[in-house]
Amino acid sequence: MLGYALRRLLTLVPTLLAASLLVFLFVHLIPGDPAAVLLGDSATPEEIASLTRELGLDQPLYTQYLLWLGNVLQGDFGTSIFFRVPVTSVIADGAETSILLALMTMVWIVILGVPIGVVAASYRGTWVDQVTSGGAMLFASVPTFWLGLYLILIFSVTLGWLPSSGFPSVTDDGGLANLRYLLLPSFTLAAPNAALIIRLVRASMLDVQREDHVRTARAKGLAPWKVSVKHVFRNALIAVAAAFGFTFAALVSEAVVTETVFSLPGIGRLVVQSILRRDYPVIQGVILVIVVLYMVINLLVDLAYARLDPRVSLK
């Protein structure tokens, strides 16, 4: 197990380096001169040239990359061209919203996905199964921003129950009650993912039900609910647990659309806005952070999976 973990960790390093190079190149290929964008239409060529020098944009690309990478490894992502503050603090500002949004989304996914999936599997082939499985597929086919806009229309505009945009920090006035700002966004983000989990829980339950140990349990006369809970559900959860992890890892980037619909001050919206503002350092920093997060969470999920199912690490 430890050997497996170390091996996986080692393969992460070259992939991360390559990803950082890709992020750097991507951002530098974006058309548009950041110095010109920053100074606006009235800037003279001299002003643009001097800002270009100040930002280090006149250096050769590989020098810029190595400088950037060296700084990043020391925790310095540079200074935002737009906000004029360190990129790390810009990202930190968005972190609270994004983390809370991701956690609340996971809560929705678990409370919706698991029970409905179990019900669908238990009533396999009946109308209950058809409605839940078909419904899940329908929800997986809905564009998230469309769902978000409709939820705003219903719960904010028509009923006036929930706020439609923004998110004041939980440390501001209102405290934890401010989480109500995230109720609609988290449901929006959860819907398509919960739909996939429903299908996965159902498929996984059905798979396990066919296994020999379940037949043995039934044959020795164990109560049906006990077979379902102890023998089927617990084993089915192994495959589902991994899916939870991968879903969580993808949430930060999927939140791009949701955060835009609900105007949330999170990392997802920061990506889109810094792209539109040509804010190179922020784009690089935030994309690198998301990619590293995504890879690390995926690695942790793999390791947890190997722990739950020892056969994996033997391969």
């Binding site: 078909g134 409709y150 990619v291």
Partner: protein
């Protein structure tokens, strides 16, 4: 004739998947005959009727420029088909080739699959977003970007399958009878991959619609003047409280099309993979 028989076998007893197939055919017909069916020019501006609700004159109502939403939706079907088919072709050709070649020539494959790994380190939407900012907003670029995003998963899947097939006896037999690499790859291995490729294609077609709509919404997809369902939704965003029909119709079209494609994909997969057969009857 055999094609019809096969279709009959795949869709027998699956009324919902059959309905999905019919819907997709309808969308395809709408796309082909849009200029004949559309009652108005999709780009024609008529300020007198701006934001008018659905009526006999304007079935889906009109938008903030007074353009007829029904006509725009018909032309939007064109974009949906173009995006779907285009992305599938890019993803399957690029991803399929990368996966097959990687599995067949293991040294070269090592390099190619590492590149795929790095691309897969980026979450799908983020990769599409970043690639889109490098390129101009156009139909072709949107297709290429979405195709590349799904080429990575396709490469992974085909890599595994080709690796398995490579060890089969019929490949050894072909080698012994003097078949070249290209012949083995494309005449002996590829035919065995057609069914999984078809299933993969149906799901890429469905997801490409959602990705394209999301890109349109963020202002990084198709050019704003192109009448696509995603652009229609994106534009109507600020008018939703006054004109909810602008949200309803294009959204419903996207959902129905994606849902239908997913149903068809499921039916295809179940007919290929016997483990899934008789799993959800009717659905």
């Amino acid at each position: 004739m055999t094609a019809i028989l096969t279709m009959g076998r795949i869709f027998r007893g699956r009324w919902l998947a059959t309905a999905g197939l019919c819907w997709l055919i309808l969308i395809a017909l709408a796309a082909i005959f849009a200029p004949l069916v559309a009652p108005y020019d999709p780009l024609e501006i008529d300020p007198l009727v701006r934001l008018s609700p659905p009526s006999l004159e304007h079935l889906f109502g009109t938008d903030h420029y007074g353009r007829d939403s029904f006509s725009r939706s018909l032309y939007g079907a064109r974009m949906a088909i173009v995006i779907g088919i285009g992305s599938v072709v890019v993803a399957l050709v690029a991803g399929g080739l990368a996966g097959m070649v990687s599995a067949y020539f293991s040294r070269l494959g090592h390099v190619i699959m590492r590149v795929v790994d790095v691309l897969m380190a980026f979450p799908a939407l983020l990769l599409a977003l970043v690639l889109m900012t490098l390129l101009e907003r156009s139909v072709v670029n949107t297709v290429i970007v979405i195709g590349i995003v799904y080429a990575t998963t396709t490469a992974r899947i085909l890599f595994g399958m080709t690796l398995k097939l490579k060890g089969e006896v019929f490949v050894d037999a072909a080698t012994c009878s003097g078949a070249g690499h290209a012949s083995i790859l494309f005449r002996h291995i590829l035919p065995n991959l057609v069914s999984p490729l078809l299933v993969q294609a149906s799901f890429i077609f469905a997801f490409a619609q959602l990705q394209a709509a999301a890109l349109d919404f963020l202002g990084l997809g198709l050019p704003p003047e192109v009448p696509s369902w995603g652009n229609m939704l994106s534009e109507s965003r600020i008018y939703v409280t006054r004109a909810s029909w602008l949200l309803l119709f294009p959204g419903a079209l996207i959902i129905l099309s994606v849902f239908s494609m997913n149903l068809v994909g499921d039916a295809l997969r179940d007919s290929i993979d016997p483990r899934f057969r008789n799993d959800i009857k009717g659905v």
